[in-house]
Symmetry: C2
Subunit: 676 residues, 2 copies
């Protein structure tokens, strides 16, 4: 058993500077002892706190240092003390890429001297010697200063020593703001403690934090039965998707599909020659992860499609699914990347006793793991070269963590605008680890959080704990793999309510359509979350113009999202109690509370519910003494409310939620233009 | 501004092994990212937990490794999985000194194969190729095994491949316990992940965890007025102290006392020639920190006293107070260890506008800090050479943290039995930091925790959070500096109640006597916590035989402590609710609940209170269906109780507390020796 030794040094006198007296500990944010970066988007703030103290009674100075990782020069921000030895400082990240931050703190002899001098002077003590001590400190600072400022400091030192002057005048100089300011510029930080770590920040573009996804199988983009949709056909679908207000269009894999063990309708093990196969069965004679399924079109068609999508405000996200069909070119060309069974066959995927013979996993324990990693990186770079900047990664939890950590850092080093969404529907610690190591966003357990208590608990964890520093949730009410029980049984009200929850609890969310807007909710069998006649195994011809489509409702919700910056973040989420467990109330706001959105959702999809909301007025920036208006952005109804306790009633069969814009000041006579 | 750079490595492919797929994180205990050691006493257990997981669905193996720090060889303990990727393992420390522990874990291909084979066999699938896969794994293990075991493994591999045998027999062999056991002995841990840190444990002797301290000014150990007590006189006091059941006798400084600016009665700035001075005014012509105050006796007397104390079961603790009187030899011989003011005088201690001209602090920012550190270490080693093993350190928070970290580690390297008690009455983070860096025990805020809510909150923090891994509380109801308001106003019942609280909430506690047992409670002035006519500044002649002395009560409490192992630990503390806020109920127990002590204290020192206790029967190891007996060890009263709800009544004017021994089985007819 190999054991790498890494012993912390026992403190030996010769190896240390015993005069670094100041302690910096309890630094936040700091993920797993600084092993992982925190995440921000451009123009967001990083607020750093730490416990900082020293022995004895010296006054302290503490500075937060930050820099872009690529630049050696630190920018310094003075920190302020809160209470109980806690200090705080902050900076704003302005550029894509990686930043670093650390702290420095020291016992500040000038500050200590100034504080004590003031006390002694106030007590009327003779401070002759103290003035001489101060003169020495100021003189020393002069030696650290520029020539010009040094002269000023030396002059002050002389003045403090000037016996001819009365003590009172010298004390006034000693305690003056100008002396303090210049001394702060040239502190004696010889014995300063620098925090032992340089903590990292990954700065992404805004879409990493705020995005509205629409998933669609491109081959199903034509409404006429019998035809395989093409990328050209998809162009015609763009206005439809854009009209619903989405900004990311995500395609399941668009690569050639294997034929061996190809799955049939409803995923039966052997399909017929007419079955189109699952898009996740990647690779055939026609190519692998860098090729496009011939029936969809050509690489040129794809590039053209990206441009067209862009014209509609849509960015295309591709699926990264690192496994192969038995017909994938890798299987012949790089047999060493697969596990070979003793009978000479390639090991297929299995979850005993189930076998998935249409899928060959890559063997990340191969001796050639480095070549494999490089090739997979080339796959991602290939699509980046075509213009793709968003990737939804299929089952990342079935490939090694070190691989993802390396891949994402490698890619983002040159392309800091790339976004990776982790599709890790797995155990919580695994899901979190993937985002710690670099995934930009992640799927969540939102689909299975239905009651008010479940939602509050889960979203408190996601938005009010350290998790939020690295985990950006992307909420999906449905996916091609997940038709939740709520949607199966709750009908149209459930689709509407889950949409509102996803779109307002999450700054990022997505739906799998047109199944979603058409309220498709038939499971393959009772107790299953698979769709009946799943689109994964057959081509669909959706009637997107059906009168009962939710497309307009979705469009309205997305417009509300776009127009209200309160909904562009997750961290401001706060819950407000309602005396009815079926009514769920929460708010989001901008930091300056200039935009405040209050949401009330009826979680029962069957009955009208009413109740009294108990608002946390402080959070909403509301004055308990003044009335305020709430405007339902879904229905345009207006309500006049006052104080924390207000009545709500929600009928799931019309609209199962309120999305209320809080208007702090209802019109009064003061709004008359002739009111003086 | 100097900035030490320590950047975490960006993972580069060439520097890493990409096949270390297993993650080890969330390790507990681990103090500040492994920067500090946890503490245990000999024979205690270290329970280690961690989140351990890998990608995909492989079965895992995890091993906890530990060793004495001085020995390179690890001992291995298999870890067990709990839930949600949490694993646990434990080991027992058996020797004084430092231990290290770390973890190793890997995706275990044999375990995975065995698990999957069982499922396939159960489903009746053909497993021919699987048996060949297993044969290969077993054959490979054979190469890692001894010659003999290698032969066995190779034979099994052959048997699994034996076409002639029916599959069922080969499956039975494959799944057999003997194969599993031998395979576990020779795992394939090529790609094992070793946790990146080797965490430290400091193992102390039992007294670090369980100790009863008595503080006494040796010069006040004679009852006849007018005489300065000597170490010889102190010998005569030993039976008295031992009769109260203490095991540590702590002396304030016993060094020569300075004369310059010597303080007078009640600490007035200038004393008269007849004032004996404060023992903390250390150093005179007669010597400094390595000398004994001549009026107390000689070094020989001191060594003799240590022996005599030992005969009475008492270990002597000395005070370490690293500062000097103006007359200390260091002031002449090592002027460079002090701050010199511009007028050439030595800087005295101050807390502006207050001046303490009788005390010169050492300047730890001196250029000669290394010489200073070495000298202070020699002071401690000097007293260790005389036989002292326990030190109470005066105001450690006014000397640099790195100094203590170095000093304590240096001393304990050669003398792992030495105990350092930190007298850091300061802010919480500073107090905790000192114990993290090495102090064995610490004073606490116990003196100022009076209400039930305060006590529950504070002792939950001390005994049920990570704090307990490094902070061992030592509870003092009084000290020569602290006469709490409770004692000033609560009279004798307060002294008794606070004693019981200290002695049962804390496995370590102490009192400053004879002031305590004689219920001395007059403050210097209203609002002050200083004693009137404090013993710090004058010699006292206590009448220890006074009829109202608490000495017998204290003796009884200490006997209960000694006889009941439940009270030898802090971690088992649990609170039980009482429907009366003046009654405070808690329990302690041994891990096997063979000894359970339940304490009920009346926190009001004025009125009799009664109420219903709601016991957590599970914690107490009690069956709700059976009656149990509680015996009050203070009064010998017996009560028969049943179930969780029981009545208590406590009169502070007789005995303000119950210390109840829980007896699980009252006598019944089954105890008749003729009952069959």
């Amino acid at each position: 058993m190999r054991v790498r030794l890494r012993r912390e040094a026992t403190p030996r006198m010769k190896d240390r500077e015993g005069r670094w007296r100041t302690v910096i500990e309890g630094v936040k944010p700091e993920i797993d002892g600084g092993h992982f970066a925190i995440k921000r988007t451009v123009s967001e703030e990083v607020v750093v706190e730490a416990d900082i103290f020293t022995d004895g009674h010296d006054a302290l100075s503490a500075v937060l240092l930050y820099r872009r990782e690529s630049q050696p020069q630190w920018t310094k921000v003075p920190m302020e003390v809160l209470v109980n030895d806690r200090w705080r400082g902050s900076f704003r990240v302005t550029e894509l890429g990686r930043y670093r931050y650390t702290l420095i703190a020291w016992a500040d002899h000038f500050k200590t001297w100034r504080r004590d001098l003031a006390k002694k002077a106030e007590a009327g003590q003779d401070v002759l010697v103290d003035l001489l001590v101060g003169a020495r400190l100021i003189e020393e600072a002069g030696r650290r200063a520029s020539k010009e400022e040094g002269q000023i400091l030396r002059k002050w030192a002389e003045d403090l020593r000037a016996d001819a002057e009365p003590q009172s005048a010298r004390i006034r100089l000693a305690l003056s703001a100008k002396v303090a300011a210049l001394m702060e510029k040239h502190p004696d930080s010889r014995f300063a403690t620098t925090y032992e770590k340089e903590l990292a920040v990954v700065v992404d573009r805004e879409k990493a934090r705020f995005s509205s996804w629409y998933e669609m199988f491109p081959r199903s983009c034509v409404s006429e039965p019998g035809r395989h949709g093409t990328l050209k056909d998809c162009e015609a679908r763009l206005p439809y998707i854009a009209s619903m207000g989405f900004d990311v269009l995500y395609f399941p894999p668009i690569h050639p599909i294997g034929r061996t063990h190809r799955k049939g309708k409803n995923g039966v093990p052997s399909g017929t020659p007419t079955d189109p196969g699952s898009p996740w069965g990647i690779g055939s004679q026609e190519g692998g992860h860098k090729a496009i399924h011939p029936q969809l079109g050509t690489l040129n068609d794809f590039r053209r499609f990206l441009d067209k999508a862009k014209e509609h405000g849509l960015e295309v996200a591709l699926d990264v699914a690192f496994h192969c069909s038995p017909d994938h070119p890798y299987v012949k060309e790089h047999r060493e990347w697969f596990k070979i069974r003793p009978d000479g066959t390639v090991q297929y995927a299995e979850n005993p006793p189930k076998k998935y013979q249409d899928i060959y996993p890559l063997d990340f324990e191969t001796e050639q793991w480095q070549e494999l990693w490089e090739e997979l990186k080339r796959v991602v770079l290939f699509w980046i070269d075509q213009g793709v900047r968003i990737f939804r990664v299929d089952n990342p939890h079935t490939k090694p963590f070190p691989f993802w950590e390396w891949l994402i850092q490698e890619v983002k080093q040159d392309h800091p605008d790339v976004i990776f969404l982790s599709e890790a529907f797995t155990r919580p610690k695994v899901m979190y680890r993937l985002t710690k190591l670099g995934f930009t966003q992640s799927y969540t357990y939102f689909g299975w959080r239905n009651t008010k208590a479940e939602l509050i608990q889960y979203f408190t964890e996601l938005t009010q704990t350290e998790v939020r520093e690295y985990f950006r949730p992307n909420l999906w009410p449905n996916t091609p793999d997940i038709l939740t029980e709520q949607l199966q049984h709750g009908g149209r009200p459930a689709f509407m309510a889950r949409l509102v929850l996803a779109a307002t609890l999450g700054a990022s969310y997505g739906i799998y359509g047109p199944a979603f807007e058409l309220c498709e909710n038939r499971p393959r069998e009772a107790g299953s979350e698979e769709y009946l006649d799943s689109e994964k195994y057959e081509i669909k011809h959706w009637d997107i113009d059906r009168a009962d489509s939710l497309k307009e409702f979705i469009g309205r919700v997305n417009r509300i999202r776009r127009e209200n910056p309160a909904l562009h973040n997750d961290w401001s989420l706060r819950f407000h109690s309602v005396d009815n467990d079926q009514l769920f109330c929460y708010s989001k706001s901008t930091p300056d509370v200039s935009n405040v959105i209050l949401v009330v959702v009826n979680l029962s999809h069957y009955h009208t519910h009413s109740g009294w909301v108990e608002l946390d007025l402080d959070t909403l920036g509301l004055d308990p003494e003044r009335p305020f208006q709430v405007q339902d952005l879904l229905t345009n109804a207006y309500y006049l409310w006052q104080g924390s306790r207000n009545y709500v009633k929600v009928n799931p069969h019309s609209v199962p939620a309120h999305i209320l814009l809080v208007r702090r000041r209802p019109r009064t006579e003061k709004d008359f233009d002739y009111y003086m």
